[in-house]
């Protein structure tokens, strides 16, 4: 059972929901795929035992063989190579490691060299994983790929995704059994939720919505769920108590049996929704 938690809009409570599930579901594995700003560790306080560098292949030109034909630059969809006055300029941060330049080169002058863009960190029993993308790096996909390689097969896996609905999220939710979309009752929350709904529908993954920071404006989300026929799995109120403990690094499900049970119920609904 693989559950992805995403939202569209940032700051709606993906980590609150996914880390709360992680403490409520026995023997599960939590993976922080928000590699630009992983923060699940603040709540789950794992002891990291292993740190694995994530390396990507980037092109390097052998100028003894290069004829400066420029085919490598033309082949690069990401414009990571320029050929100028007989020189090959490579912009490694922009490279997406597809290897097209190597194939396009007529003179076998391009080879790939490794470059580290971040790390994957794992706790002792592999129940907690997080990826960290180095500051300034724009391409997070290889780190998410490395995280996914380490997904356990025999236990529930909870993937805490990055905000948005672009490549990093697509990569994270691909092949998941269920998606939990976390939203808030604001026009921005709804706007980005709609984008996330389109994404999971397109990818054919069963999904439901968790409404966080529920308030007088919750109708905004209720109406949307009703009109679209989407299951509203759970509501977490806009509460000072929850916010205060969150600010101390304590999740609702960590200090309160009421909320722990709520998240256990959420997991049951997810299992039903996924048909497992």
């Amino acid at each position: 059972m693989r559950i992805a938690v995403l939202s569209g809009k940032g700051g709606t409570g993906k980590t609150t929901v996914s880390a709360s599930l992680a403490v409520s579901v026995p023997f599960c594995q939590y993976i922080d795929c928000d590699v630009e700003e992983p923060n699940g560790a603040i709540f789950l306080t794992p002891e990291i035992q292993e740190s694995i560098p994530v390396k990507v292949p980037v092109p390097e030109a052998d100028m003894a063989k290069c004829s400066a034909c420029g085919y490598c630059a033309k082949a690069c969809q990401f414009h990571a190579i320029a050929v100028v006055k007989g020189k090959v300029l490579v912009f490694p941060e922009i490279c997406h490691h597809c290897g097209a330049c190597v194939i396009a080169c007529l003179n076998d002058a391009i080879r790939e060299v490794e470059r580290t863009i971040g790390v994957v960190e794992v706790n002792g029993d592999g129940t907690f994983l997080q990826g960290k993308l180095n500051v300034g790096e724009p391409v997070s996909i290889p780190i998410i790929r490395e995280l996914r390689k380490r997904m356990k097969k025999d236990v529930p896996v909870i993937l805490d995704c990055s905000p948005g609905a672009s490549c990093a999220v697509v990569q994270s939710i691909e092949g998941c059994d269920y998606c939990v979309l976390v939203t808030e009752p604001t026009p921005f929350g709804l706007h980005d939720l709609k984008i996330a709904v389109r994404l999971v529908r397109k990818m054919g993954i069963p999904f439901g919505i968790v409404l966080n920071k529920a308030s007088d404006s919750s109708r905004l989300i209720h109406d949307f769920c009703r009109d679209e026929g989407i299951e509203l799995l759970m509501e977490i109120p806009f509460s000072q108590e929850i916010a205060e403990s969150y600010s101390k690094g304590v999740l609702p499900a960590q200090n309160d049996d009421f909320w722990k049970e709520k998240f256990e119920k959420l997991y049951e609904k997810i299992e039903r929704g996924a048909g497992k």
Binding site: H79, A82, L89
Partner: protein, 126 residues
């Protein structure tokens, strides 16, 4: 001499676009004959590498000097490697900028603006 001005429109009367990599158009002109070629910049809306693509275009077109507002770090690397000179233009038409360049009134640019500086900016307006 072949110069290129980043342009907000497709004519020599258009206002200069202050962005280089993501300029809407490029006007490439011969300063002696004033013959010009206008190119729509396909890199203007690209996700990344706009400066590199635009820089490569300048190299491929044999441009010797550029008149623009801001140049990002990647474009600067390409232009420097090609020994293409960069001049700071003014918020007037492409033609007027070329006239000023010919009179030696434009200053050279050697510093860059940060990556993605010109994203989300409308052509020709700061």
């Amino acid at each position: 001499m072949k110069v290129c001005v980043s342009s907000s429109g497709n004519s020599v009367e258009s206002t200069m676009d202050p962005r280089f990599g993501r300029a809407a158009y490029f006007v490439i002109a011969d300063t002696d004959t004033m013959e010009s070629e206008i190119i729509e910049n396909t890199a203007a809306a690209s996700g990344g590498g706009a400066g590199i693509t635009s820089g490569q275009l300048m190299v491929d077109k044999g441009v010797e000097a550029i008149i623009t507002g801001n140049v990002g770090p990647n474009a600067m690397n390409v232009l420097k490697a090609a020994n293409i000179e960069i001049y700071r233009g003014e918020s007037v038409s492409v033609k007027e900028n070329i006239d000023k360049f010919k009179k030696g009134l434009l200053e050279k640019i050697t510093n860059t603006v940060p990556s993605h500086f010109g994203i989300g900016v409308q052509g020709g307006q700061k």
